[in-house]
């Protein structure tokens, strides 16, 4: 019993935070439903009921959109027709596809967080990583596909690591605040991508828009299921492996210990003879590398070509993710699955009920707020206030 409580303990605040965020989100949906509210003066009771029904429908569409319709899935399993099975499990696989980049970027933010640096630049490292992979594919297109895949992913990872190393280096050598430099480098990265995609070498022939040539004609991350319209690729497997590796690295190795020590107390770490500057640079490079790895899988596995909007805010979602997960790799996987589900489910919600997908962004902001201010959540749910430091290590 006690062990169970210990296991659940760190999840209480995140779960309540998510509930609160959805609650506020539904109030927001309700008050922006002008068509419904127009009837309020004549029929207040009916308006409130209709409003609540609308909100319920929206969340129901979100759940079905994210996990699929259970009855359909059961029926499909019996049918043995690949097309029916694919249609039934597609929402679930799409959730995993959406979660893949989030796991990578969430891990990236967490590694930096654990080492005491706040990497807001994951967004930039992600898209430049994807860009590095794109360039590598087009440069080495003659290689056999399996080798090309490895080379491209390696190039993407290194590009991301290099882009993450810059703010780490600046922080270690000059004390430049990494939040400022990473914000600025995000914009520079976006401009670099735009610049690269305008060049004849990368741009898709005959296209005026800044999109690269289709990389899938040269190489593609292999798919897990051979079913029509299922996009789930091995990126998710690598993402889970990376979560385990990161967990092992930060909790079980000496270097990881040094990083965490630097994160807890830089002065103490320095006093104990560890290289604080080295820790910061290593953490930022690792963080950038993870982001770049995620970008490579996104462009080679999910998108198939480089575009300026490859990252749908993955780097920013990652900050929410890492906070929600308390920077624990397992938590990040779970939180990424949740956010992936929100994203795919939000898509169906938008189609079915006309409620914009951007509701998700708002809900995510609320989640960060409630997680970051645990007292707020506890006061909403009338829980006893407890010391802040419990479980929430940053």
């Amino acid at each position: 019993m006690k062990r169970l409580r210990r296991a659940i303990q760190p999840a209480i605040v995140p779960i309540l935070a998510i509930l609160s965020a959805f609650l506020v989100g539904s109030v927001f949906m309700f008050i922006t439903d002008l068509e419904n509210l127009a009837h309020f003066p004549t029929d207040p009771g009916g308006t409130i009921v209709a409003g609540i029904v609308n909100v319920g429908n929206a969340y129901y569409a979100m759940i079905i959109g994210a996990f699929g319709d259970p009855t359909r899935i059961i029926a499909a399993i019996g049918s043995n027709d690949p097309k029916v099975i694919a249609a039934a499990i597609r929402p679930l696989t799409e959730t995993l596809v959406a979660a893949t980049p989030l796991i990578f970027t969430g891990l990236a933010v967490a590694v930096a967080f654990r080492s005491g640096v706040f990497n807001i630049g994951v967004e930039g490292q992600f898209i430049l990583g994807a860009m590095g992979a794109t360039v590598a594919v087009l440069v080495f297109r003659g290689l056999p596909p399996p080798i090309l895949l490895v080379v491209a992913i390696g190039a993407g990872t290194l590009t991301g690591a290099a882009w993450g190393f810059i703010p780490g280096f600046l922080k270690a050598r000059t004390g430049a605040h990494e939040v400022i430099t990473t914000i600025m480098l995000n914009y520079v990265a976006a401009q670099l991508v735009l610049f690269g995609l305008r060049s004849d070498f990368l741009r898709a022939p005959g296209s005026d828009a800044p999109v690269s040539k289709v990389l899938w004609t040269f190489v593609r991350v292999p798919l897990i299921f051979d079913l029509p319209a299922i996009r789930l690729h091995y990126g998710i497997v690598i993402a889970l492996i990376m979560a385990a590796v990161v967990s092992w690295f930060i909790f079980k190795t000496t270097k990881g210990f040094e990083l965490r020590a630097a994160g807890f107390n830089l002065h103490a770490a320095r006093y104990a003879g560890m290289s604080a500057g080295g820790s910061i640079m290593l953490a930022m490079a690792l963080s950038g590398g993870l982001a770049g790895l995620g970008g490579s899988f996104e462009v080679l596995g999910t998108a198939g070509q480089m575009t300026t909007d490859l990252s749908a805010g993955f780097g920013f979602n990652a900050i929410a993710l890492a906070l929600l997960a308390g920077n624990r790799p397992l938590g990040i996987v779970l939180a990424a699955l949740l956010f992936g589900a929100l994203r795919t489910g939000g898509g169906l919600m938008q189609v079915k009920t006309g409620i914009p997908l951007d509701l998700i962004v708002f809900i995510q902001a609320l989640v960060i707020m409630f997680v970051a201010a645990p007292l707020l959540v506890r006061s909403i749910f009338r829980m006893n206030a407890r010391p802040l430091d419990e479980g929430s290590t940053i």
């Binding site: 922006t32 002008l34 000059t174 600025m184 914009y187 914009p356 951007d358 509701l359 970051a372 201010a373």
Partner: protein, 435 residues
């Protein structure tokens, strides 16, 4: 060195490892600047025949113009001579030479020569460039003032972008409603600006409340506001404004021509027939500078940002100061947001702040947490933006991404201390515990 007699001149006697390094780097710097001068001469030699034409409107846009013509070679020559002289002086004088100030002369000369060379004989309308610069600088510097206020009081503020978005959206909606209700443009505009200000104050309060009461990391609080602002405004735009266009047709703010001054050639059309925002920005800049550096209030504010524990010891209510600074900052950023939707655009658009809030943050740093400096920084960033649009209108083949990156690169260079280290308030970002 240690055995040197005390009679040697003081500078040599006290020379340690650090001084020697400074001397060496000063010499290298001088050599680099002088070498740049040679590059300028090389560029000059080939371009005396190319004429650069800069034109200015005399009274109003599209009216009579006044032009300055010069050869590109002359500009390069000037830049070359200046570089050569400054490089020499730097090499002779060593570390004592205030080389950072000399950049104020060198960089504009380089920029003028490079722009002239890029124009390649085409006529550049500088009034448009300067007007574009100001138009860009107004919201950026108002946002920067908000950043200065909050950071000087010890609250890190990366949420300017979110305040811009919310301010722009609120202003558009409230101004539209007030305009439809009363039919008066003026009332619509005033209601719009005031509502944006209130929205900004609300966000400022949220930031302060999260950061001070709940001790949420101030960067995370900023991320919450930026994120939430994108979510809310996109949601409102798609769900509410899309179906009800009348909610997104605010009246725009008219330009004010100041009676006599607007008639001055060249300067009049630029500075004295602008929107009220321009005058407001200039007034806030002067007022804020005075308040920050010349009043008791300013001293206390800065004390809370530099060393809150010491400020608290002498009886300053740090928490109250921080709350007030955040509310004031929110008001300024909200007003800046209303500029986006009420001044030129005449409606709210998706993500219309387009990173300007982060450029404002850059201006805070580039301007060394000083209102006048921040305004100068906003002008520099605005100029690079205006030049970029000038070049793209004239069809000059320069990648716009390069000029678009200028504010970000400049900021990185400045925070890294490559060209003159600036130092922010020491306690910005740290929560304060009132004991």
């Amino acid at each position: 060195m240690t055995a040197a007699a005390p009679t040697v001149t003081p500078i040599v006697r006290e020379m340690g490892e650090a001084d020697r390094r400074n001397l060496r780097s000063a010499r290298i710097r001088g050599a680099v600047i002088a070498a740049l001068g040679l590059v300028c001469f090389a560029a000059a030699s080939g371009s005396f025949g190319v004429i650069a034409t800069f034109s200015f409107w005399l009274v109003k846009q599209g009216g009579e113009a006044f032009t300055i013509q010069t050869s590109v070679g002359m500009l390069w020559l000037l830049a070359g001579i200046a570089s050569g002289v400054i490089g020499m002086v730097q090499m002779i004088k060593g570390p004592a030479f205030p080389w950072r100030k000399s950049l104020l002369i060198l960089v504009p000369l380089y920029v003028a020569a490079i722009v002239a060379a890029l124009l390649d004989g085409k006529v550049a309308n500088m009034t448009n460039v300067f007007a574009g610069t100001l138009e860009y600088a107004v919201p950026v510097s108002l946002g920067a003032f908000a950043g200065i206020l909050s950071e000087r009081s010890g609250m890190l503020n990366i949420a300017i972008e979110g305040k811009f978005l919310i301010g722009a959206c609120t202003a558009a909606i409230c101004a539209s409603i007030a305009f439809t209700a009363t039919g008066s443009k003026e009332i619509g505009v005033i209601v719009g600006v005031l509502s944006a200000m209130l929205a900004g104050i609300g966000l400022g309060f949220l930031l302060a409340w999260l950061g001070i009461k709940h001790k949420v990391d101030q960067i995370i609080a900023g991320v919450v506001v930026n994120f939430g602002a994108i979510g809310i405004t996109n949601f409102l735009f798609l769900r509410v404004l899309g179906n009800n266009p009348w909610l997104n047709t605010p009246p725009t703010i008219e330009r004010i021509r100041i009676p006599v001054l607007a008639e001055i050639p060249v300067v009049g059309p630029l500075f004295f027939s602008g929107t009220p925002y321009l005058y407001f920005t200039l007034a806030v800049m002067l007022f804020l500078t005075y308040m920050l550096f010349r009043t008791r209030w300013g001293l206390r504010l800065r004390a809370s940002g530099e060393k809150p524990s010491a400020a608290g010891t002498v009886g300053i209510d740090v928490i109250k100061i921080r709350y007030r600074a955040m509310l004031l900052a929110g008001a300024l950023a909200g007003i800046a947001g209303s500029y986006l939707s009420l001044s030129t655009a005449g409606s709210f658009q998706l993500g219309m702040s387009a990173g300007k809030g982060f450029i404002a943050l850059a201006a805070v740093i580039f301007g060394a947490w000083n209102p006048i400096g921040a305004f100068g920084a906003a002008l520099v960033f605005g100029f690079s933006d205006a030049i970029q649009s000038l070049l793209s209108i004239l069809g000059v083949d320069v990648p716009p991404q390069l000029l678009n990156s200028v504010p970000y690169l400049v900021t990185i260079i400045v925070v890294a201390g490559v060209v003159g280290r600036v130092r922010g308030p020491a306690a910005a970002g740290q929560p304060y515990d009132q004991g």
